[in-house]
Symmetry: D3
Subunit: 69 residues, 6 copies
């Protein structure tokens, strides 16, 4: 009966990639804890760049810093 919430920046995640995330997270719960896939929810939230901060900066500014990932 797990609930999994995945938050990522909104940058062109495709439906096929989302399906893989859903499948992968559901399998993970089944493999590790024996959870029933039919009662496993996965909810993906895509967050605009300007709404996600790291290092005290919106993510685009953070990534634009010299030496950042």
């Amino acid at each position: 009966m797990p609930y999994v919430n995945i938050q990522v920046t909104r940058e062109g995640v495709t439906p096929a990639q989302k399906a893989r995330l859903i499948k992968g997270a559901t399998d993970l719960l089944a493999d590790v804890l024996g959870k029933n896939p039919s009662t496993t929810f996965v909810v993906i939230e895509e967050v605009e760049f300007e709404n996600w901060g790291i290092g005290g900066l919106p993510v685009q500014e953070y990534r634009a810093r010299p030496g950042s990932e």
Copy 2:
């Protein structure tokens, strides 16, 4: 002082239905726990079909399976 978060798939929930969810959840907290409606928050999140998974599948594929709800 409760906070209630309701996540549903985005499929044409009307403003009137949302108002009923807000009213209903607020009344529930008042009835069961005596919570003050003026400090009860209800936040509804509508999630795209492709972002919601159950049974290891995006919800539309899940619903399209033979015998599914």
Copy 3:
């Protein structure tokens, strides 16, 4: 396929009250949106007083203010 998260302060909510919250929230989603109870999750989170703030104060200080609820 809704997911409902209810956050309240931890102050002696009984199992019977929790069961009423679960039943009430599930019924609400069924009544308003026709959602299937068998795929409706309700998760209750009880939050310590010192971890909940309102009006810029931990809830116990807030409630102790003259004229507060």
Copy 4:
């Protein structure tokens, strides 16, 4: 390694204001708990008026009540 989630109604929050929220929340965790900004996430969620309830009403109706904030 904190994660901060800020939910506000969607009403024209500017990118500059979001940057100030991100900076302010990150600084707060650094100042109070000594948390490393480079592993502090801030995620802002903007919620439509009709999806946010208080006092048992959608926020716009709530604000339109006589004597409300």
Copy 5:
């Protein structure tokens, strides 16, 4: 920079199982979306039985029903 929140019922999940969930979710985001593990957070929340509802019932009552999973 993903954030993954995994909610499960509290029923003896071991530290080793939690480590596998953390590793698995982090790998999933790296494999599917190329996300950097060093900025991927996974937060596991264990929820008491009486605080988790499905089918309008606390999970233990739900599981005790004839024919339930």
Copy 6:
């Protein structure tokens, strides 16, 4: 009417530090967006070390790595 959720590892955060987080987050929303403190909620969640992952590892293993923060 903001709702702020702050998740940190559980490692001896004192009530006084929590009060500062609550005050700081509430002031931030008031300063940047003019939000009314009396309808600003701050909820702090303390997460066990073994339940928080970064870099694909539980946080304690992550911190124990050579060269980590």
